[in-house]
Symmetry: C2
Subunit: 211 residues, 2 copies
DNA sequence: CTGTGGTAACTTACTCGCGAGTCATATCCC
DNA sequence: GGGATATGACTCGCGAGTAAGTTACCACAG
């Protein structure tokens, strides 16, 4: 009986890309802690040592996954931030962009907000860096709104920022838990919710996302 | 050298209570996954097998901890729900009660909302039961507000409920991350934030918590 | 009031499985 | 032949769970 070892004619770069793709899904769907390297190898149809050859360690592979996911999400946040909208309109635009970006690869979200991710090492650094950038973006928006509302207390602003990020996350998470809802329908829902809570939205909000 | 075995004159019930207390802190502060039974035994100044004698398994111990914590939090939610407040006033009362209940034992919160808790078994059942009860309570409040606002869409109500729970959780979490803020100061902060976002609060909200 | 047996409280020193990480080796292509 | 691609079969540590034995307390017989 012949061994299964030996090249299969797949170049390293291609194999790395394939492993990365499989790993992103696995880490994103099951979480870092619940995913073993053997799981990923099996899902990719290769053996465990190949992953170690190419990525060094489980954490090294995770770091690359996280960087990829963070870049994807960050690109979307940045794009939204460059529209000339403010306040709730800006929020709606950002949510709408995120729904569209996540539709083909919903696991990317949980990959970035994985509570079982390691709390040190390269992947942790990548996440911290992403969170810092995201924080700045969110803090700008919230800070301005608070100033407009006449509240300049630092603690209040900090807490409001935390609440806003949490609202954003819960809307995305709710959508991820209801996969039958299209991105457009979810954006409409967000507009309705904001209208219900804050009163009718500025026309700008609807216009910004083409409603 | 003599062995260390043998009773130390501590009755089973007392020892169980002591282990439970130590375990609640450990699970609540580090999370279920990151806490080993040996850690708990060491923190309690006893040996691992004693825990197995009394609680059967790590998960069995966790189940008792979770039940204890859920009962504590639930008692507080129920108490708040029996006040004759509605809308934002009710929210403020509930937050205020939770801050006061958590002040002497802040780890109880993360014990209940631990993302690394097991996803089956007795402790999972206890958490599901708690969440179901909590869900009903929250759904009532949110549903009524949505109806008053003229929105009866089931999906909208479901999403709003998710957002409200997330807002509640993020306010508590923010407070837990700022231990220098007293419960009373945090309640004041919540009142200010709600006022900033929704306009001035009904006097009822302030009166309900004695401001 | 003093042995004495039974039981509850307690520990030391293990087993066992799982998953991260490694080593030696095999096959293929140029 | 030599380097890139690949794998089977390991080691190793950690944490859950256990078997077997040790000590202190207590009820009761003498």
């Amino acid at each position: 009986m012949t061994s299964n070892a030996g090249t299969k004619g797949v170049a390293r770069a291609d194999r790395e890309a394939q492993i990365l793709d499989v790993a992103c899904r696995a880490f994103g769907e099951a979480g870092y802690a619940a995913t073993s390297v053997a799981d990923i190898a099996e899902a990719a149809g290769i053996s465990k040592p190949l992953i170690y050859n190419y990525f060094g360690s489980k954490e090294g592979l995770h770091a690359v996954c996280v960087q990829h996911a963070a870049e994807t999400l960050w690109a979307e946040f940045e794009r939204s931030s460059r529209t000339d909208t403010v306040g709730l309109a800006r929020a709606v635009v950002t949510l709408d962009g995120m729904f569209q970006a996540l539709a083909p690869q919903p696991w990317m979200w949980r990959l970035v907000f994985d509570p079982t991710a390691p709390s040190d090492g390269a992947s942790h650094e990548a996440l911290l860096d992403y969170e810092r950038r995201l924080f700045t973006l969110g803090a700008d928006g919230v800070g301005e709104l608070m100033r407009l509302a006449g509240n300049t207390d630092a603690g209040d602003t900090s807490a409001t920022h935390a609440v806003w990020e949490s609202v954003f996350r819960s809307l995305v998470t709710w959508w991820l838990d209801h996969p039958e809802v299209s991105p457009a329908a979810m954006t409409d829902r967000c507009i309705r919710l904001f209208s219900t809570v804050f009163g009718d939205l500025d026309e700008a909000a609807r216009a910004a996302v083409g409603r």
